[in-house]
Symmetry: C2
C-alpha cells in the first residue's frame, strides 16, 4: 500500500518553516509497513492543491494532507477538497461541541472564525481533534483514501497515532517493511563502502542498502519488504552478523538512535553519572543529554561558562592558567572538566572550550579551534579540533565529538 | 521566474532525516525574487526522478535537485539525469584535481568510488564543489535550467550562495518579492484575525497576508510581487504603520527573527548582561542564547542544576527550602534566579524548574508543571505554567516562555 504526503502552506515554500511533519509521518507510516512514495509541498492555492492531489492519486492509494485548515482566510484546503469531491459544507454538532470545550478550557470566547471550523464536508467521515479547532476529514472514494489533517505538529501527531494509522491498517492489507540501521564510526563514507564492498555484492536482491553519512558517523540502513515478518527479520539479522564480523568495534549501535541515547544506555548499565562544563557549545551538550527521558538519573548538570569569571568562580579554574594559556587551551579545558567533576561529584565529566565564531578568531587560534576533554577520577582524554567557519556547525560538531569521546570511554 | 526543488533520498521518505535543505533554499531564492512553486521529495529511483523532473518542467523554469550524488551505488541522480538529457559521462580533469586536493587535505586515499565522482555528463556545465567530491551539474536546454547539487547541507549552501543563485540571476530577469513579517504576542490566532479584520478587508489585492501561529506568538506575513522595489516597499510599510496603530505594543518585532535575537538587540542597546539557571529546560535556554553570534558580550553562562545537590552547591539555594517546598516551586525557582544573578554578577537572570516528563509527575504537580522566574536586583517576576505531556514540547515551551518573560522586562 502506497502513501503520498502533501503539505500545504506558503510558509514552507518561502522557507519560513521547515517541514518536520512529513518526516515524522513518513517514519510512523514506515514502521507499520506503509511505503511513502512522494512528499510534495504546495502553496495555499486551489489549483496547486487540486493538481497535486490528482497526480498523487495516480501513484498512491492514500493521500495525506497536512496544513491549510486553520480558521483564517488564507487557509483554503477544506474548501478545495470539498469542491474536488463535490461535497457540501454542513454544520457538525460534535465538532462544534469540541470547539466550545476547547475554548472554555483556554478561557477564550467563540467567534465567527472558530465557529466556521464546525462546517464540514458532507461526503467525508469526520474525525474529532481534541487538541484543536480544526477536525480531521477522511474521504474514501474510488478505492482511494484522502485525509486532511491539521499542520500543527502535536495535533497532527495525535491524529496520526490514535486515529489515522489504525484506520489505515484496518482499511488496507499492509506489507511488512523492516529497516535495520547500523551506526559505524571511524570510516569516511567511501572508505566504508570499499571495506564492505564484497559483503555488499553478496547481498540478496531484496535487501536494499543505503549509506547515510553524518558528522563522525555513517549510518548503514538495510531494508526489506515482504509478508513473512519472522523470515524477513532472520534475513536481515544474518546480514548484520556478517557485517559485524567485518567491522567489529567500529559498529557503535545496531539501531538508529542518537548518541545521547547510547550514552544513556551505558551510564544506566554501569550505574555511573556525568556532568558537563561548556564554553563554546553553550549548553548544547546539556540540551541533548537532557532531551532523553530519565536523564536525571545519571546527569547532574552543566555549567556554561561563557565568561572567564564564571570559569574561575563556578568551575574553580585557576585565573592564572587562563591568563597564561588563554581560555581556549588544553590546560583550561582540562581544569574545567576536573572542576565540574569535583563540584558536581560525578564519575565522568565533559568540557569544551573553543572559538565558535564568526568573531574571536586569531592566527594562532582561528575560528573553529576547539579543545574537548573527557575525564574520570583517574583518566583524562583531551583533544584539539579544527571544525569549520560556521558558528552553528561548530557548536554541533563540538557537541557530537564530545559525546562520541564520552561514548568511547564508556564502552 | 518560477523554481521547483526536488530533494532525492530514501532517508527523507522513510523519515530518517528532516529535509532542511528545501526550506533554506526556498528562503534564499525568495530573497532575490524567485518564487518556489513546489517542493517534491522522491526516492533514489530512476522512474520517480525522471517523472518528477518532467512534471516540474511543465510548471517551472528552473528545477533544482539536491542529494543522490554521493559516491556509493545507491545514488543514481547523475546517471538518471545523464540519460534524461542523453549525455555521456566523461572524465573531468578539474573535478579530479579538486577530489585529489580534498583527499590530501583530509589525509585520505583516493579509491575507485571517489575517482568515479570525476565522471561528469558532457552536456552539462560543471561547477566545482570545493567542499566535497561531488561536482554541481548545470543543464540548460529548451529554455529551462536543471541543476543537480549535493545534499550535504554546507556543500549545498555554498553552491547556492556563491554559484547557482548568481548564475540564475544573470540567466533570468527576476521580479522583486517583498516579504514583511510582524511578530505579535498576546493574541490567539483567531482573536488576532478578528482584531485586524477591518484592516485586512482594506488590504490592496496585490498584498497577500498569511498567519503563522507559533507558541505564544503569531507571525503575520505580508507579501507583494512586482518590479518597482521602492514602490512595493512603500506600500508594505504603509500597511505595517496601520497595523501598528491597531496593535501597539502587542507587536514585538517587525522582522522575522527568533526571540533570542530580539533579546540580544535589547541587551546590547541597554548594555546589560544576563545569566540563566536551568532545571527542566536542561540547557536549552543557554543553547538558544549562545546560538546568536556575539552573545558572549551579554551572556555570562548558565548553571543547569538537574540534581538538588547542584542547586544547593552552585546556585546557593537553601536545602531546607527544597525539602519544604520541593524543587518545582516558586520559592526554589526564585532562589535559583537570585543565586545565579549574584554568582555570575549579571543585570538579569532567568530560572526554570519544572517536570518535563514523561516521569516525575504527581497529582499536585502533574507533568508539564513549570515555574519560571526572571529577576533583576530590584524586581522578581515569577509565574507558574502547565505545559503539555510531551517532554520535548515542555522543554521548548518553557524555553520560549522564559525568553518572552525576559523580553517583556527588557522592553
Amino acid at each position: 500500500m502506497q502513501v503520498e504526503i502533501i503539505t500545504i502552506g506558503d510558509e514552507i515554500l518561502i522557507g519560513q518553516i521547515v517541514d518536520t511533519n512529513a518526516a515524522w509521518m513518513s517514519a510512523e507510516l514506515n514502521k507499520v509497513g506503509f511505503e511513502v512514495v512522494q512528499i510534495t509541498s504546495v502553496h495555499d492555492d486551489e489549483k496547486q492543491i487540486t493538481e497535486s492531489l490528482q497526480q498523487a492519486l495516480t501513484r498512491a492509494d492514500v493521500v495525506l494532507f497536512t496544513g491549510g485548515i486553520g480558521p483564517t482566510n488564507d487557509d483554503i484546503t477544506k474548501l478545495t477538497l470539498s469542491k474536488y469531491f463535490q461535497a457540501n459544507l454542513v454544520f457538525d454538532e460534535a465538532v462544534f461541541a469540541n470547539i466550545e470545550n476547547l475554548l472554555h478550557h483556554r478561557r477564550r470566547a467563540m467567534n465567527e472564525l472558530t465557529r466556521s471550523q464546525a462546517m464540514v464536508p458532507d461526503k467525508a467521515t469526520i474525525i474529532q481533534n481534541p487538541l484543536g479547532t480544526a477536525p480531521i476529514t477522511w474521504f474514501d472514494e474510488n478505492d482511494k483514501v484522502v485525509v486532511s489533517m491539521p499542520g500543527v505538529p502535536y495535533e497532527m501527531k495525535r491524529a496520526m497515532t490514535e486515529e489515522i494509522i489504525p484506520k489505515l491498517q484496518k482499511r488496507f492489507q499492509s506489507q511488512t517493511v523492516i529497516h535495520k540501521s547500523i551506526l559505524v564510526t571511524g570510516y569516511p563514507e567511501s572508505a566504508l563502502a570499499l571495506k564492505i564492498a564484497d559483503w555488499e555484492k553478496m547481498l540478496p536482491d531484496r535487501i536494499r542498502l543505503a549509506y547515510l553519512p553524518q558528522y563522525n558517523i555513517v549510518r548503514l540502513r538495510l531494508s526489506v519488504v515482504g509478508t513473512d515478518k519472522s523470515l524477513l527479520e532472520k534475513a536481515i539479522n544474518h546480514q548484520v552478523d556478517l557485517l559485524e564480523e567485518i567491522l567489529g568495534k567500529a559498529i557503535i549501535a545496531k539501531e538508529d538512535i542518537p548518541i545521547e541515547q547510547l550514552i544513556a544506555q551505558y551510564l544506566i548499565l554501569k550505574n555511573k553519572t556525568v556532568a558537563t562544563a561548556e564554553s563554546c557549545t553553550g549548553g548544547h551538550i546539556a540540551h541533548l543529554i537532557t532531551s532523553v527521558p530519565g536523564s536525571s538519573a545519571y546527569y547532574k548538570g552543566t555549567v556554561v561558562a561563557y565568561s572567564n569569571d564564571v570559569k574561575v568562580k563556578l568551575l574553580q579554574v585557576d585565573g592564572e592558567i587562563i591568563r597564561k594559556h588563554g581560555a581556549v587551551s588544553q590546560e583550561v579545558v582540562e581544569e574545567m572538566a576536573k572542576g565540574v567533576l569535583r563540584s558536581m561529584n560525578t564519575d565522568y565529566a565533559i568540557a569544551t572550550s573553543g572559538i565558535a565564531g564568526p568573531d574571536g578568531g586569531s592566527i594562532d587560534k582561528p575560528v573553529g579551534t576547539t579543545w574537548i576533554s573527557v575525564v574520570t577520577k583517574d583518566t583524562c582524554v583531551t583533544k584539539k579540533f579544527h571544525f569549520s567557519y560556521d558558528r552553528k556547525l561548530n557548536i554541533e560538531r563540538a557537541t557530537q565529538t564530545a559525546l562520541l569521546m564520552l561514548l568511547k570511554l564508556l564502552r
